[in-house]
Every structure is written in structure tokens, then in C-alpha cells.
Symmetry: C2
Subunit: 246 residues, 2 copies
């Protein structure tokens, strides 16, 4: 049996991370949904950086760069973390530098682990199918909102934990995992309504980003599993995906 | 309108505390349940200290002292944090020094606030009745387990938030508060069963403390509201309780 646990936010990562070498990073609204979508639509790689300054520096060196803070595109950048931006055919095969309020911070926090993969509701089944076959302990890390707990990442973390636990190959010890699973089960039939009280959805609604929210809450419209390799997020190649057997 | 929010554990207190001068501290299993019970049964005061060393020092100076770590009474002490210990008639009017794994840490963390009160399921209605009449912003702080989220404190925090929000005099902004309220509503009809998966209940079951758990999960068997005054927890006097009017 392997262990799967949920850590709600980067602020608590130090309490959970010691036992894990496989970390799934989530930022459902919207960074990791955008990253999954980017891989699905054929981007070559996304280079996650923690600060706007780093993104600007790489932009000045000729990289395409995207930056979001507080839900909005940062001045001087053409893209933020709307998944729709990454469906652009012109981006196929390209590299994009990305910095976001929470998601890229969480990815960078986990970067010393053996394996960092990117999750979202968009690639839920594909990701869980792969995870269940790993025979490894798994930490699911929500990006939260400025180190605080958020509902949408918890729902997605709960979905991943629920599916992995149902396989019978995992156990969970932490109350955070029990709570995430429980919140997911209650929310799954109408996530959009369930999240109407969430602070980040209110934030995005003010910014007219309801279409983004609907997209991010749609399970399984992607099959790509983004994985961190030498500092870049790339699509896990099909051989690696299929090499995993029960 | 005033604001009420839930902070899951001491590790996140710095993210939430800035806006609040009234903090409710919870450690349902078992420190704050024991403290409410102690006040109900007529103890004069409980002096919460963070470390076993401090408790030993005060014990050597002649204080009655209680210490719990990892669910068990620490060697050299006669009591830990079982509520039943504090029902003892011989303790009436006495002072007791107390240190516990999580609860006294959380209490000490909040001690610079204008008002620190102690909550549990045991004094739920009495506490909420008073809180609703304060016209102040309220932070409900769970003691968690070694800085991690726990289910039992979250259920109790959700109960307090739910009752205060229902009064129509409060609003909540944080996702943690929404989640706590939601978990409480799902758990309230059978908390003992709901908590069967919780890590701390499993810990206490191993220690044969199921009777303690049942007691701690019984709402409204106490009406005392313990309040921190000059470093001691004392029962809020009846005049102060009644002075609060809508």
C-alpha cells in the first residue's frame, strides 16, 4: 500500500512534504488548468518562474512570457493564465515563460522532488490513471490563495485522493485528506454552484472571467499530464504514460 | 455587519490574525473541552503554559499542574487534559497550571489580543449567544495537530461560524470559513461517526479514551465561557455575560 495525502496550500508544505518524492501541484483557478490546456494544444514547454521580475528578464531575452497577479494580466505581458490563451494555434511548439500569483510559486516550491506533475480538473482521469499505477507515495499540493486554504484546489485534491483511494492501492492518514475527499464528494455534482461562495470565484466574477471558471471546472477535457523536467513543464510522453502498469 | 472567520491551525494564524481583536480558541480533543468543564465545575483558574518545562517549574513552586503530550499524561504529573479529571470536587476553587500538545500553544499565540475566549462543543450555545452580541470581528482559531488541519476543531469552528452567520450580524470572506461551515453541517447529526476517520480520534482510541471523545463531542453540557485575564483562564462572570445585549 502507498500513501496519498493532501496539503491545502504552500504555507503548510513544510509540514507534509518530508515523506514524498512525487508531488501533484494544483491551481485550478487558473494556472494549472492553463498549463494542462497548453500541453493538450501542443505547446512545447512552459517555464514556471516565481516572480514577475524573472518573467520580464526572460521576456527581454526573447522568450514569450505570461504573467498574472491578482487575477489580471500584468502590464507589459500579452497573456496571463486564462486557459483560452493557450489554445492559440500560433503557440504550437513554442516555449512560454509563466508566472502567476499562486501556482508557479507552488511548482517552484516542489521542484527538488524526484517527480512533479501538474493536475487540474481538466486532466483528472488521465492523471489519476497514471498516478494509481506508480506504486509511490503521493502528495497533492494545492496552491491556495496567498498561502491560505482555497475551495477549488481542495475539491480537485479531494477528487484525486478519492480516485486513488478507491483503487485500493493507497491509504491516507491526514485529516486534510479526509476533509478534501469529503468536500469533493459533496461538490462534484455541481461544482460551479458549490463554488459560488468561494473567495476566488467572486474575485474572478468581478473580472468577467466566468467563462474561464466554467472551463476550469470541466473535468476531463484534456488528457495531457504536464511534468517538470529540468525546470520546464512538458507533456509526459506517451511511452512513459503507458509504461505504468498495474 | 461584523466579520467572522475560521483559521484552521496555529501554523496559519499569522495569515488571518491582523484584523481581529477577539479570538476564540478551540481544541475539541481535548484541551478546550477540559477547560470549559473545569470552569463549569468551579475551578478558580487554569494557567495555560506552552511548555512542559514551565509546567514543571510552576509545579515545583507549589501549583497543581497538568500536562499532556501526544494524548498521554506526561510523567510526573497527575492530570492531563481529560475533561473528567476536572470534575473532581476537590479541585473547586483551585488554580491549575496546564500544558497540552496543541491547545495551550494556540492560547498563548493569541494572548496579546484584547479578548481571548475558549470554545468547545460543550459550551457551544452559551458561547455563540455571547459572541453574537459583541458587535466585534471574530477569529475562530483551531488548535489543529502540530500545526496541521484537524477535523474536530474544524467542525466546532464551523458550528460557531454557522450560528453567528445565521444571526444575520456577520459576514465571512475566507474559503476556510465556508469549508468549516460546510463540514459542520454535514457532520452535526453524527459527529462520532463522522470523526471515525480522523487521525486524532484514532490516536485517542488506541489510548482507550473513547469516553473522553464522546464527552467532548456532546454539545451544550456546559454554560461557562472561559476568558483569558492576566494570563489566566477564568470563568467569564455572569454580569459580563449578561451585559451583552443585541
Amino acid at each position: 500500500m502507498n500513501r496519498i495525502e493532501v496539503c491545502f496550500s504552500p504555507g503548510e508544505y513544510h509540514l507534509y512534504e518530508a515523506d514524498f518524492q512525487l508531488v501533484v501541484v494544483l491551481d485550478v483557478l487558473r494556472a494549472t488548468s492553463a498549463i494542462c490546456t497548453a500541453m493538450e494544444y501542443g505547446l512545447k514547454e512552459i517555464i514556471p518562474v516565481a516572480s514577475v521580475e524573472e518573467a520580464r528578464k526572460l521576456q527581454s531575452e526573447g522568450y514569450l512570457a505570461a504573467a498574472e497577479r491578482g487575477g489580471q494580466i500584468v502590464e507589459g505581458f500579452d497573456m496571463g493564465n486564462s486557459p483560452f490563451s493557450y489554445m492559440e494555434p500560433a503557440l504550437k511548439g513554442k516555449s512560454v515563460v509563466l508566472t502567476t500569483t499562486n501556482g508557479t510559486k507552488a511548482i517552484n516550491m516542489a521542484k527538488d522532488k524526484e517527480t512533479v506533475v501538474i493536475g487540474s480538473l481538466n486532466n483528472l482521469d488521465a492523471l489519476c490513471h497514471w498516478l494509481i499505477r506508480q506504486r509511490r507515495d503521493i502528495l497533492v499540493l494545492g496552491s491556495g490563495w496567498k498561502d491560505k486554504f482555497n475551495l477549488e484546489d481542495t475539491i480537485c485534491a479531494g477528487a484525486i485522493a478519492d480516485k486513488c483511494l478507491k483503487s485500493g492501492r493507497f491509504f491516507a492518514d491526514e485529516d486534510s485528506t479526509v476533509a478534501a475527499k469529503f468536500i469533493y464528494r459533496s461538490a462534484r455534482d455541481n461544482m460551479f454552484a458549490f463554488l459560488k461562495a468561494s473567495s476566488h470565484r467572486r474575485r474572478l466574477r468581478k473580472l468577467n472571467l466566468n467563462e474561464d471558471v466554467k472551463y476550469c471546472l470541466t473535468p476531463n477535457n484534456c488528457s495531457a499530464i504536464p511534468v517538470l523536467e529540468n525546470g520546464s513543464l512538458v507533456r509526459m510522453n506517451q511511452e512513459t504514460v503507458e509504461a505504468a502498469t498495474l
